[in-house]
Symmetry: C2
Subunit: 429 residues, 2 copies
């Protein structure tokens, strides 16, 4: 039993001074559900494994956690933590508390942090997105339709000039967005500075030729100061976007990059998230997404709702999309979603990426709506006639859906869409 016995109090109603965490877990053999629940609540706040003389009555009274919801059948508890247990504007500290040691305790077999509801005081201590969906749409002059994006492929290997050319072809074919892949930073064969310079030049050319705004998202992921240097360099050349790998760089650096107020859109790649979010041990992707919105990414990869190469169920991804886009989130205990008011925190543009192609688009929009960025790498660069034609196929697919015309019908008069459907078929799953 934990330092302080009996944190369970199902009559407790947390007021606005409490952060709520929802956990699902399985106790270890021989440990009762209630005992393990107490271990979780204690170890994540003021407790340890034995009573200590230094824990006084005042602390017990003011800072004790309340396990106010217990559902053993659904393996779920909700714990209320007083906001004074957390430092404002310090995400690593918040996660070290409620997403820290508890995962390694002997008394639990598996544990998942499903969601966090932040109280107003903590919420206001973070910045949230600087642009958000509306800011990005304004930048691009695209009001309603999903944005069409691509990732330069292969992930790594192209030199700077080849990279810029693939980007140009993709924009020319109809992509709004071209991004670096998550593992492309500054390589021996493709240096960051040269790549950015050449690719932004190609962006300008594509903008002139197409009359559309075009986006290039350079991956600045590195050590913190190096990231800041790279971001400043991007800005100095007229770049309006940066991209970061939020999981492998980590939360402290993400806060730092956001704090710089670069006035550039921040695209968040989530490479590595599934090491943490898949299965019943770790954080849910919903939690990761919520933390990312709070700190302030503008765009976030959230999956493809079963339409692509990455895992993640449709319901789960719809929940995540709501959490990063809506102003107010309703509690849904069946789906491990907590209530949250986002106040002035802007919505994040959801990015669907991973194994998508023109034939995915209809189902994808049906499931994820039009406020998404549809990114296809292989689904664009596969076209033997070149990336331009692959991009045309993708843009045509989006246009078809926006016009309410079936892909098959639209393909009759649009060669590149037809080529893609002939290659991949239409996803109907």
């Amino acid at each position: 039993m934990s330092g302080y016995k009996g944190y369970i109090d199902t009559k407790f109603k947390p007021n606005k001074k409490y952060l709520i965490a929802e956990y699902t877990f399985e106790p270890s053999k021989g440990i009762s559900f209630e005992k393990a629940a107490n271990h979780i609540a204690g170890e994540s706040s003021i407790g340890t494994w034995v009573n200590v003389g230094t824990l006084n009555a005042k602390i017990k009274k003011t800072l004790r956690p309340y396990i106010f919801y217990v559902n053993e059948k659904r393996k779920t508890i909700k714990v209320a933590y007083h906001q004074d247990l957390f430092e404002e504007g310090n995400m690593p500290q918040i996660l070290s508390s409620i997403g820290g040691n508890i995962f390694g305790m002997n008394s639990i077999k598996t544990l998942r942090l499903e969601d966090i509801s932040f109280p107003e005081k903590l919420l206001k201590s973070f910045k949230g997105p600087s642009f958000g969906i509306q800011g990005i749409r304004k930048l691009l002059g695209v009001k309603k339709r999903p944005l069409v994006g691509t990732i330069v492929k292969p992930k790594v290997g192209l030199n700077e000039k080849e990279h810029a050319k693939v980007a140009y072809n993709s924009w020319a074919g109809g992509c709004d967005v071209v991004k670096d892949d998550e593992n492309l930073s500054s390589m021996t064969f493709n240096k960051f500075k040269k790549r950015i310079a050449l690719t932004l030049k190609m962006r300008d050319k594509a903008e002139k030729e197409t009359g559309e705004k075009k986006i290039y998202m350079p991956n600045i992921t590195a050590e913190t100061f190096e990231m800041i240097k790279r971001a400043k360099y991007v800005k100095s050349l007229g770049g309006k976007y940066i991209m970061v790998d939020i999981i492998t760089m980590g939360w402290a650096a993400l806060q730092t990059i956001r704090d710089q107020n670069f006035k550039m859109v921040m695209h968040a790649h989530r490479a590595g998230h599934a090491a943490l979010t898949r299965g019943n041990q770790g954080y849910s992707m919903l939690t990761v997404a919520k933390v990312a919105r709070l700190i302030g990414v503008d765009q976030l990869h959230i999956g493809t709702a079963h339409v692509g190469k990455m895992e993640g169920s449709t319901l789960e991804i719809q929940d995540i999309e709501r959490v990063i886009e809506d102003k107010s989130i309703k509690e849904n205990s069946n789906r491990h979603v907590l209530q949250q008011d986002w106040l002035n925190i802007k919505p994040v543009f959801a990015v669907a990426s991973g194994g998508l192609h023109p034939g995915s688009v209809s189902r994808l929009i049906e499931r994820m709506g039009t406020d998404i960025i549809i990114q296809a790498g292989g689904g664009i660069h596969w076209n033997p006639r070149g990336s331009k034609y692959g991009a045309m196929g993708m843009r045509q697919a989006v246009n078809a859906v926006m016009l309410g015309i079936s892909l098959k019908e639209y393909a009759k008069t649009h060669r590149e869409l037809k080529e893609a459907l002939d290659k991949f078929g239409e996803y109907k799953g």
Copy 2:
């Protein structure tokens, strides 16, 4: 099948230009082991889910991965990646590659990155520990015995003055080290600056009174620039140590803190690691430990070899200890350990922490050796007479083992050890 078929080549012998990653995994239903292996190797380097026209022959030749070890029975593969796939000195990029998207692929059910062997070129691009075991022992003037440490408990709740007092009592009783807990940073009831100032003053007092060197490890975990500010403040008051939560702060910020060359010992708490390292999805703790050594932490929590409240098997923790302490690591395929020469990278002091008490010490040293820092929180502050007496019990236990006297025997003439043994018994598991 991945963009480039047949990355499997069991005749391939990686030379010194290759980074090796060892994975264990289970393919999804209907996917063969070989196919999933190819997906892993492709997605972590140059491949995607479909052939792309932009992938040229030169890239295929120079940057293709080699799956050179396949053991389906043990669910294991080893993949060799050319070092040019990675940016020197950029840990987030390395992990976005070999520890990124692959965890979320549909084609695998579970995946674990078991170990990474870094080639010389990449190894040399990181700093490693600034002090290491010998540097720390020199600082303390303790040549052979394990260091005795405590965590101020309760984790949070004490004000600055109470905190400093608990620290003083612990040092006075025989602790070498006193540290903040992982979720204590700068709180409304315990501000960082005031806490550090008061606690370092108590350290000086304890040093004077005991004639021993004493260590205080303030937790500076926060946003990157805030951490740097806090570290500088610690240094300005004569602090010689800082502590960081490496998992919740993340790798980019850890590199940044190391790069500052504060000439203070960096203690690494691993709160949250088990969200990533426990079970068959994610990274192994061995991988986390290796990455932490390479970047350059001086002390690292690695577990208690089944002696405490945290999970982690004895064999696994012994492997981890070897990997962070030894100069050269031998390959052990049965235990998922890869060969590694550490060259000039210093050894990291292993920290055993979590549920320890004086009765744990004998077995703990038997399993983990004397080059460890034994930290007990509850195991010291439990003593009703005060933390000082709890600390005395712990130091007596260490002294007994170093003298080759059984705890039971030594307790006959040492009251505080006897009190602890009466309370907790001796761990014989």
